[in-house]
Amino acid sequence: MSKESKAQEFQERIDNGETIEPKDWMPERYQKQLIRMMSQHAHSEVVGMLPEGNWITRAPSLRRKMILLSKVQDEAGHGLYLYSATETLGASRQEVLDDLLNGRAKYSSIFNYPTLSWADVAVIGWLVDGAAIINQTMLARSSYGPYSRAMVRICKEESFHKKQGYEMVAQMADGTPEQQEMIQDAVDRWWWPTLMMFGPHDEDSPNSAELIKWGVKSKTNDELRQSFVDRHVQEAHAVGLEIPDPDLEYNEETEHWEFGEIDWDEFWNVVRGNGPMNKERMKTRREAHENGKWVRKAAEEYARKQRLQKEKAS
């Protein structure tokens, strides 16, 4: 079969809503795009452990400490599921990690912002995980089997993440004046960066159309962003918090919340590595990797010795 007819057959499978599995034929570009997108997603989960991990040792109650630790641990699990799914496309974890540590790969810019107070932990759970759920619920229907299955698993855990965050947001918003001030300040700092998580406008997002054609995504960046805003504005108002956007207005006709323009200069600046925490996040990841080298090596050497011993014995 010629390449063109294969490609055509592939597109038909996608259009019929079939799931593509690792051993199936796929266009090289489909594979490449998926590797890029999935490994980026995996890196985001792992780097995403750091801002919240920053508060584990300072959590203000035992209950919150356990919740936060298990949440951050879940994010490690998400990274792991996603690296695994990426490996089914022939990209080993080693290679994609290398790309991250050498600065060739990207991860979500949201994690390049610092967590300055405990309220940030609450707001990250509510807004950042809330945004992740919206994106990931869509990806759970993605055309690539391993990706969509990883997403199904992850989405289950994300609902715990968002709920614990929103619960805490509500408590603080209903708390002492200091707590209220702290939580509003966190919302003010995280609202806009969270909106940026959905990426550039559709017309500035060259990958979007292709990913939609291939059934990897089913909604555009702007559509996802809109459903995020609709949902979270309601939730903010329900607990008496303000959204730091003077242009925010409900449109009775469309039944959507209209919102102001994102500061795209800031967006691109952080993407290019000039966010408040880019360098530190990468330094931390590199250090963990370097410090773990002797451990990984020791376990391999032990396994090798054990195999040799077994071979000798038999």
Partner: protein, 104 residues
Amino acid sequence: MTKTDEKESKDTQWPLWEVFTQPRDGKPHEHAGNVHAPDAEMALENARDVYARRKEAVNIWVVPSDQIVASKGEDAGPFFDPADDKPYRHPQFYSVPRVSKRRK
């Protein structure tokens, strides 16, 4: 899977193992995902920590490229049965304000 023998001096992320978890007694094992591990014991431990954190499994298989390694029966208790006292891992644990969808 790369044989570690051939590239022992290189830093790796350890070989890959497929993980199969059995959700309940009497149910068949299902593919859960995979883990990296230097050997079978570590693959089992890692699979437990990654794929059974919420009691999702009573038994685990880990499979390198060419052989299946099943967990031993004696592990059934402590290994797969972390104490059932982490309700905070489940969303039902939280009470949050209800937001009713705004209508016209």
